[in-house]
């Protein structure tokens, strides 16, 4: 397993979390890969929902954009954007939201708007998209982000999405909120990762669970499925 990348572990861990989900709302990139993989390895009936309006899409390949034709062609239904947000997301009909972000703080709140000052930004990011309402509409939010001090920051430059994630999955481990005060706690490290290394990549004094575990390594089957999917 020495040839497994951190990104592969991250994607497989995210996919595993969808074992019992009925439906999952996804953007592009790693979250999309994880959700498509989940249909192959743990939950063939998982309903994939993209904010382009495709509900129940069954992509065989990883789409470049959330509006790729294959998503519409394979969906159970395709709805206008207004309907997607008003009738499907806002009432909580989608179980799980997979979200990414440029910055995550210790509460799991997200910034995807701007780095630096709003009026004079150092880096202008794409903005909110569907994330704020997806995070509040879905029962379970899972954040997927690369672990670095630039991403895991003590203070967001902008609070775009008031997420309360049940888990934050990084390329180093898994963080979950403390049941008492909601602050993210490192509960799991991926194989070969030391807790100190996670602290080094986190922009605040990271709490580490006394019951810190290690991520079960990807199985041959999981890895084969992921690599076949990426290669398609």
């Amino acid at each position: 397993m020495s040839d497994v990348t951190a990104g592969e572990v991250q994607t497989i861990v995210a996919a595993r979390l969808l074992r019992d989900a009925r439906s999952c709302f996804i953007g592009v990139g790693r979250p999309s890969t994880a959700a498509i993989l989940a249909r192959e390895i743990v939950n063939p009936d998982l309903v994939l929902v993209y904010e382009s309006g495709t509900i129940g899409a069954k992509p065989q390949r990883i789409p470049l954009s959330i509006g790729d034709g294959e998503l519409a062609a394979t969906a159970d239904l395709v709805v206008p954007v207004v309907e997607m947000f008003n009738y499907w997301i806002q009432p909580g009909r989608i179980d799980v939201a997979f979200l990414g972000a440029a910055q995550v703080d210790r509460r799991g709140h997200l910034n995807s708007t701007v780095i630096g000052d709003y009026a004079h930004p150092r880096t202008r990011l794409p903005g909110a998209g569907g994330a704020p309402e997806i995070a509040t509409g879905c029962d379970r939010t899972i954040v997927i982000a690369p672990h670095s001090p630039r991403t895991f920051v003590a203070q967001l430059d902008f609070l775009t999405t008031r997420a309360a994630p049940e888990a934050v999955i990084t390329d180093l481990g898994v963080l979950e909120p403390d049941p008492d005060d909601g602050e993210l706690v490192l509960v799991q490290v991926h194989p070969g990762v030391e807790p100190d290394a996670v602290q080094d990549e986190t922009g605040w004094d990271l709490r580490i669970s006394p019951r810190l575990g290690t991520t079960p390594p990807p199985t041959e089957a999981e890895l084969a499925a992921l690599r076949a999917l990426v290669a398609r």
Binding site: V28, G29, E51, S52, G53, T54, P63, L64, S65, I66, G67, D68, G69, L71, A72, A73, V78, V79, P80, V81, V82, M84, F85, N86, I89, Q90, T113, Y118, P121, R122, T123, R124, L125, P126, G127, A128, G129, G130, A131, P132, E133, T136, G137, F158, L159, T160, T161, R162
Partner: protein, 273 residues
């Protein structure tokens, strides 16, 4: 009944300097041919409206057509940044760009309110985010339950432009595939232009087809391939390679300008890019 006209004429007639202009198409049926014609005609000071600015608005912004942008997600989907959009916001190049941003839910509901001739829409959203301090949103109380909700103002663009698969000779159009907010945007617009892949004698309703009657549309122009590099479901394919190539083309001001010169300014109306 919508007039069937040439793209040059349609844009000349319907889009004026200083107008608020919505070009919609959610990852699909993006009206590139019409947007390029706006660029060729040198429109200025536009108040550009679009949920997902995408490459088309990156081009309009980079060519200095816009004074202001109203949007909810300004990225190159699956690729990364929109460099002209960033350059305008971060450095005011080529001209300063005011912005007003929302969430997708807010933007979609703003169009829906505009289409319904209501002054505002309500939703659960915005609360507790920094968006509240930087955009048009208000709090409103449910008169029955006392619950606090967000209110966003209606959008009624001066002109809305969308692309569809087909039109008949009365100017009624049909689009299918991902429907986005096109219907709401057309109905919310004070004027409207639809470019289409083809004219047909009779519109045969399709599964998932959205039909918009010609009597709520001002002009229809035939522009085959007019959604490229996005696509028209069932007729053309999305050019994913171009979306990736745009990252390089647009990163540098001079490379961008040269590309626009060659592929847009030098191209005839309706040729696409």
């Amino acid at each position: 009944m919508a007039e069937i006209v040439g793209l040059h004429e349609a844009v000349a007639e319907l889009v004026h300097d200083g107008d608020s202009v919505a070009m919609e198409g959610f990852t699909h049926l993006i009206p590139f041919a019409a947007g390029h014609e706006v660029i060729r005609q040198g429109r200025r000071d536009l108040d550009l409206i679009r949920m997902t600015p995408d490459l088309l608005y990156d081009q309009l912004i980079g060519m200095g057509c816009a004074r202001r942008l109203v949007f909810s997600y300004g990225g190159n989907p699956g690729v990364g940044s929109l460099h002209r959009f960033r350059d305008a916001i971060e450095h005011g190049w080529p001209v300063p760009l005011e912005i007003e941003e929302h969430s997708h839910a807010g933007m979609a509901n703003r169009y829906a309110a505009g289409a319904a001739a209501l002054p505002f829409a309500i939703l659960r959203g915005y609360a507790g985010t920094d968006l509240v301090r930087h955009t048009q949103v208000a709090s409103i109380t449910c008169p029955f339950t006392g619950e606090e909700l967000a209110a966003v103002p209606a959008l009624n663009p001066d002109v809305t432009i969308v692309h569809a698969q087909e039109a008949d000779r009365s100017g009624s159009v049909q689009l299918w595939g991902i429907p986005g907010v096109q219907k709401e945007a057309i109905l919310a617009g004070k004027r409207s232009l639809v470019t289409v892949e083809r004219l047909v004698d009779v519109i045969e309703p399709r599964p998932g087809g959205v039909v918009i009657p010609g009597w709520v549309i001002d002009a229809v122009a035939v522009a085959p391939g007019g959604a490229a590099p996005s696509y028209a479901h069932g007729l053309t394919e999305r050019d994913n390679d171009f979306y990736k190539a745009w990252d390089t083309i647009s990163r540098d001001r001079d490379t961008f300008a040269a590309w626009m010169d060659e592929h847009v300014l030098g191209a005839p109306a309706g040729a696409g890019a």
